[in-house]
C-alpha cells in the first residue's frame, strides 16, 4: 500500500463531500463514533438481596454448580445503638480501566475490548490462575467444568445483540443499571451525573479504575470486611481444582 497521500485535483474533489459532511455532523454524533463504553451502576438502596441476579447469571452463562460470576454478599450490621440492619454488596467483575489481571496473564488470554469489557480468550487460557491471584476483587475463578479462568463478561453475547446483561434483566428492584457511559443520554450516564460525588467504587486505592459504580455503598463494605462470617450458613466449595 502506498504510504503517500494522493494529492491530485481529482482526488481532492472526490473527497470534498466527505469533508463538508463531516463538518455538518453535530458534536454528539461525533462522540457516538467513539463507540460505547459499557459500565454498571449498582444502587445498593434498591437491592433486596434476593439473589435473582446470582441465579439469572448462573443460568444464562451455564455455570457449573458452585461457581458464581456475580453474587450479592449480605451483611448484618449492628449500630452502636443496638439496632441491626441489612447491608448488601452485589459483587461482579469491575471491568477495570487498569485491570491488573491483564498484564500478569502469561499467554495474553485476558484482554480489554474497545467497549471496555474485559474478557478471557478461552481458546488460549492455560488455567494457570495467575489472573485469579491478581484480581483485587475475587471476581475471577477457575471454572470447574472448563478448567479455564472465568468471570463476569457483562454478558457480552447479549449486549452485542442489544440485550441487557442477565443480572440486570432479572433484578427485581432495578438496582443494576447498565449502559454506555460515552453517551450522555443513557440512563446510566444520567444517574451517574445526578449522583455525582455520591458514587463509589470498590477498593479505589488499588488504582484499577473500576467501571462498576455503587450508590449507597457503606465505607466498611468496600473492601475486606473486618467482621465475623456466619460460615455455617454459607456455601463452601466441596471440591478443588478443575
Amino acid at each position: 500500500m502506498n504510504a503517500h497521500p494522493d494529492l491530485s485535483r481529482r482526488a481532492f474533489l472526490g473527497r470534498l463531500p466527505v469533508v463538508t459532511a463531516g463538518l455538518a455532523v453535530p458534536v454528539a454524533a461525533v462522540a457516538e463514533t467513539k463507540g460505547p463504553h459499557w459500565a454498571m451502576l449498582v444502587d445498593t438502596r434498591r437491592c433486596i438481596a434476593c439473589q435473582a441476579c446470582t441465579i439469572g447469571c448462573a443460568v444464562e452463562n451455564a455455570l457449573p454448580e458452585g461457581d458464581f460470576r456475580t453474587v450479592v454478599a449480605t451483611y448484618a450490621v449492628r449500630t452502636p445503638e443496638g439496632q441491626t440492619g441489612l447491608s448488601v454488596l452485589p459483587r461482579l467483575c469491575n471491568h477495570c480501566e487498569e485491570p491488573p489481571c491483564i498484564p500478569v496473564c502469561p499467554v495474553g488470554a485476558t484482554y480489554k475490548r474497545a467497549d471496555g469489557v474485559v474478557l478471557v480468550n478461552g481458546d488460549r487460557c492455560v488455567g494457570c490462575a495467575y489472573c485469579v491471584q491478581a484480581c483485587p476483587y475475587d471476581a475471577r475463578f477457575i471454572n470447574h467444568k472448563t478448567g479455564k479462568a472465568d468471570k463476569c463478561t457483562f454478558c457480552s453475547h447479549r449486549i452485542e445483540t442489544g440485550l441487557l446483561p442477565a443480572c440486570v434483566e432479572t433484578c427485581v428492584g432495578g438496582a443494576r443499571i447498565f449502559g454506555d457511559i460515552n453517551d450522555p443520554e443513557t440512563e446510566i450516564s444520567k444517574r451517574l451525573k445526578a449522583a455525582e460525588g455520591r458514587t463509589r467504587v470498590l477498593k479505589p486505592e488499588a488504582g484499577t479504575q473500576p467501571r462498576v459504580f455503587y450508590i449507597g455503598l457503606e465505607d466498611q463494605l468496600a473492601g475486606r470486611v473486618a467482621g465475623a462470617s456466619a460460615t455455617e450458613m454459607m456455601w463452601r466449595p466441596s471440591h478443588t481444582g478443575a
Binding site: 438481596a49 458464581f68 453474587v71 450479592v72 454478599a73 449480605t74 451483611y75 448484618a76 450490621v77 449492628r78 449500630t79 452502636p80 447491608s87 454488596l89 491488573p100 498484564p103 500478569v104 496473564c105 502469561p106 499467554v107 495474553g108 488470554a109 488460549r124 487460557c125 492455560v126 488455567g127 494457570c128 490462575a129 495467575y130 485469579v132 491471584q133 484480581c135 483485587p136 475475587d138 475463578f141 477457575i142 478448567g147 470498590l202 488499588a206 457503606e218 466498611q220 463494605l221 473492601g223 475486606r224 470486611v225 473486618a226 467482621g227 465475623a228 462470617s229 456466619a230 460460615t231 450458613m233 454459607m234 456455601w235 463452601r236 466449595p237 471440591h239 478443588t240 481444582g241 478443575a242
Partner: protein
C-alpha cells in the same frame, strides 16, 4: 453508619487458584537451584571440604529439578495447553518469562551433570554457566511473580523473594545432608554450618518483615492483621522449627537437622501460598483449607514425593554419587 459489628451472613469464599501443586513446585525448584549452587565449590572450583558433598548436592538438584516441572504442569488447570506459553508468550508477565527460564535451567543442569560424569572440564564450565544463569533467573522469576501480586498483602513484599531464597538454601543444605546421611557419611561440619547460616537468614527476613508490619508499613500491617485462626499457630510453629533446626545443627548429626530444614522449607511455602490464598479480598469469609485424598490435594503432595523417590532410585541405580574420587 457508625457500626460496632458486621457479620457476613451470606457470602462466598473463592477456593485457592494455586493448588498444593504450586507449593510442591516452588519447594522443589527452590531446592534444586540452591543445591546446584552448593555443588559448584566442589565440582567446578575443586574447593577442599566441599568435594565430598558436591555430588550429593548435584543429586539433590537433579531429583528436585526433574520433579519440579511436573508439579508445575499439574498446577495448570489446562496442562495440555502448556504449548501456549511458547505460542502466545506475554513478555510483560513474569510467569511468561518463567516458561523460558525453567527449560534453560533444567537443560543447563543436565548438561552440567553430563560434564561432571564425563569429566569434561571445558563442557563443565560452559554448562555451569548456563545452569547458573538459569538458576538465578528461576529464583528471580519465582520470587517476582509472587511479589508483584498487590491483591495479596502477604505476597506483596520485596522480602518474599529473599524469604524464598533463604528457605530454599536451607532446604538445599537439608536435602544434600539427607542424601549424605543415606550414603552413610558422617561429616556434618560444612552442611550443618550451611544450615546455621541459612536458618539465621530466614529468621532475619522474618524479623525484618515483623519490624515493617509493627512499624505500620501498609501491606505488611494488613498482611499481619489477616493471618488468622490456625495459620497463626502454623507460623509460630514454623519459627519454632527454624529455631529447633538451629539447635539441632549444633551437633554432629546429619539426618535430623536435615529433615527439620526440609520441613521448614516446605512449610514456608505452604504458609505463603495456601495461607495467603485463604484470606478474602472482599468480605470476611476465609477459604477453609482442607486436605483431601484427591490429586489436587494430599495425593498430589504424596505423588510428588513419590516422583522424587523414583528419580532418586533411578539416578542412584545408574550412577555412583558417593564416589568422591571423581568429584
Amino acid at each position: 453508619m457508625n457500626t460496632t459489628a458486621i457479620t457476613e451472613v451470606l457470602g462466598f469464599a473463592r477456593e485457592p487458584g494455586w493448588l498444593p501443586w504450586a507449593v510442591q513446585y516452588f519447594f522443589l525448584i527452590g531446592i534444586s537451584t540452591m543445591a546446584f549452587f552448593l555443588s559448584l565449590p566442589g565440582l567446578l572450583w575443586q574447593r577442599a571440604g566441599w568435594q565430598d558433598l558436591a555430588r550429593h548436592a548435584l543429586l539433590a538438584a537433579l531429583v528436585c529439578g526433574l520433579a519440579a516441572p511436573v508439579a508445575l504442569l499439574a498446577d495448570l488447570h489446562q496442562p495440555g495447553r502448556f504449548l501456549n506459553f511458547y505460542l502466545h508468550t506475554n513478555f510483560g508477565s513474569w510467569m511468561g518469562w518463567g516458561a523460558y527460564f525453567i527449560p534453560l535451567y533444567v537443560v543447563g543442569l543436565l548438561a552440567y551433570t553430563w560434564s561432571v560424569l564425563r569429566a569434561n572440564r571445558a563442557g563443565l564450565v560452559f554448562a555451569a554457566l548456563v545452569a547458573g544463569v538459569g538458576a538465578v533467573l528461576v529464583l528471580v522469576y519465582t520470587g517476582m511473580e509472587t511479589m508483584i501480586v498487590a491483591a495479596r498483602p502477604l505476597w506483596h513484599s520485596f522480602l518474599i523473594p529473599v524469604f524464598f531464597a533463604a528457605t530454599a538454601l536451607a532446604g538445599a543444605f537439608g536435602m544434600t545432608a539427607m542424601f549424605e546421611a543415606l550414603a552413610g557419611r558422617r561429616e556434618a561440619k560444612v552442611l550443618n554450618g550451611g544450615l546455621h547460616f541459612s536458618q539465621w537468614a530466614v529468621l532475619l527476613v522474618i524479623a525484618a518483615w515483623l519490624v515493617m508490619a509493627l512499624g505500620g508499613a501498609a501491606p505488611y500491617r494488613e498482611a499481619l492483621a489477616t493471618i488468622h485462626g490456625g495459620w497463626v499457630a502454623a507460623w509460630i510453629w514454623f519459627i519454632v522449627s527454624v529455631a529447633v533446626t538451629l539447635w539441632l545443627a549444633r551437633g554432629a548429626s546429619l539426618l535430623i537437622p536435615a529433615l527439620f530444614a526440609l520441613h521448614g522449607a516446605w512449610l514456608a511455602r505452604w504458609l505463603v501460598f495456601m495461607g495467603g490464598q485463604s484470606v478474602p479480598k472482599l468480605g470476611s469469609t476465609h477459604t477453609a483449607q482442607t486436605l483431601s485424598l484427591t490429586p489436587d490435594s494430599l495425593l498430589g503432595i504424596i505423588g510428588t514425593a513419590g516422583l522424587c523417590l523414583f528419580i532418586y532410585i533411578v539416578l542412584t541405580s545408574l550412577v555412583r554419587w558417593d564416589d568422591s574420587a571423581h568429584a
